[in-house]
């Protein structure tokens, strides 16, 4: 009788792992697309909102472009213009049968400034401090059109109140604000627990997630 010999060595012992560790390892092994499907919150932490490390734009844009490629989107594909009955707005099949409508609303854009430009445009800030506010955005958004909601005003009121508290706490005037202080202020706005700020930022974020969920390939696509 021939003795059986194990063809491959057994995997090294991993030792005891908690459920949380196993899950963490599993999530880390997923592609961004898979992670977005199963845990959009973790996806957002990793790919969506890491402004400080500048991983937001590159990571997310690359993923979006991949999603669009898979879905077969082509930005320059002609669409049926308004007034074409049920076909209005639909792709014309790329055969050039309908005039191309290259209207806005589809291209990448810089998105929402955490500190609205309208609020600081007239302040006498140092150029490098102003630059921090200029660059403090969500990154490209695919938002719908504006309506008559009061949410921007409510958000801006809350940010302005926060700013005045910030100046008071640091005993500075706007013109004395350093870029580091501006960065800190933007970070505080991003992580604010003020419901007026948090609900607006969350709304924007959730809308983005929904937008991309609707465009993700499904099944064997």
């Amino acid at each position: 009788m021939k003795r059986w010999i194990q063809p491959n060595p057994p995997p090294p012992s991993k030792g005891w792992q908690s459920r949380a560790e196993i899950l963490r390892e599993h999530y880390a092994s997923l592609s961004p697309l898979e992670l977005l499907r199963v845990r959009p919150d973790l996806y957002a932490q990793t790919w969506g909102w890491d402004f400080e490390n500048k991983r937001y734009a590159s990571g997310r844009l690359a993923l979006y472009e991949e999603l669009e490629r898979r879905a077969g989107f082509r930005w320059d594909q002609p669409r049926w213009p308004k007034g074409s009955g049920d076909d209005s707005g639909r792709w014309s099949g790329g055969a050039g049968t309908g005039p191309q409508e290259t209207g806005p609303g589809r291209g990448p854009i810089r998105g929402h400034h955490f500190v609205d430009k309208a609020l600081y445009k007239n302040l006498s800030l140092r150029p490098e401090t102003r630059q921090v506010f200029d660059e403090g955005t969500t990154g490209p958004l695919h938002a719908g059109p504006h309506r008559w909601s009061k949410e921007h005003k409510i958000y801006n009121d809350a940010v302005a109140e926060h700013f005045q508290r910030f100046l008071k706490e640091h005993r500075i005037q706007p013109e004395q604000m350093t870029p580091e202080q501006a960065q800190r202020f933007v970070s505080e706005v991003k992580g604010s627990r003020d419901p007026r700020i948090r609900s607006f930022n969350t709304k924007i974020f959730m809308r983005e997630i929904r937008y991309w969920f609707r465009r993700m390939p499904r099944g064997s696509e």
């Binding site: 209207g103 009061k150 005003k153």
Partner: protein, 135 residues
Amino acid sequence: MNREENDRKQKQIFELLSAQVDKLLNRFGKSDSLLGPGDYSVYGDYWGHPQVKVTVSNLELLRPDVVKRMQAIVRDFPGWELVVAVAVPGHYDNWPDMGLYVRPHEVIDGLQRKYFPKEFQGIEYEGSRRGTERD
């Protein structure tokens, strides 16, 4: 024109239109700032639609002559519109969302005047039509 060029061009138009509207409203009131609330605010972010959003907190800025001037500005930007939202401090919760769409050829009037003080209840805009925010 590729997507990036188109987006850049639209953003330039947005900046130009926003600046002109801001300049106009600045003659009639004060802009919101980080140092305190004002009478209006021109939202500074381009979201990819041919719109500029203005929030008005002082009803004086809804006077027909001001709106007429806004329309004169937007006439130079075919396809664009001003979304004028009413947000008066103290009435964020008890007034519904309302406002105007100021377009080159029309004004969509969605103001709910019953909430306004008496002196503003009779505001009318020449060539306007009543509408909703879905117009």
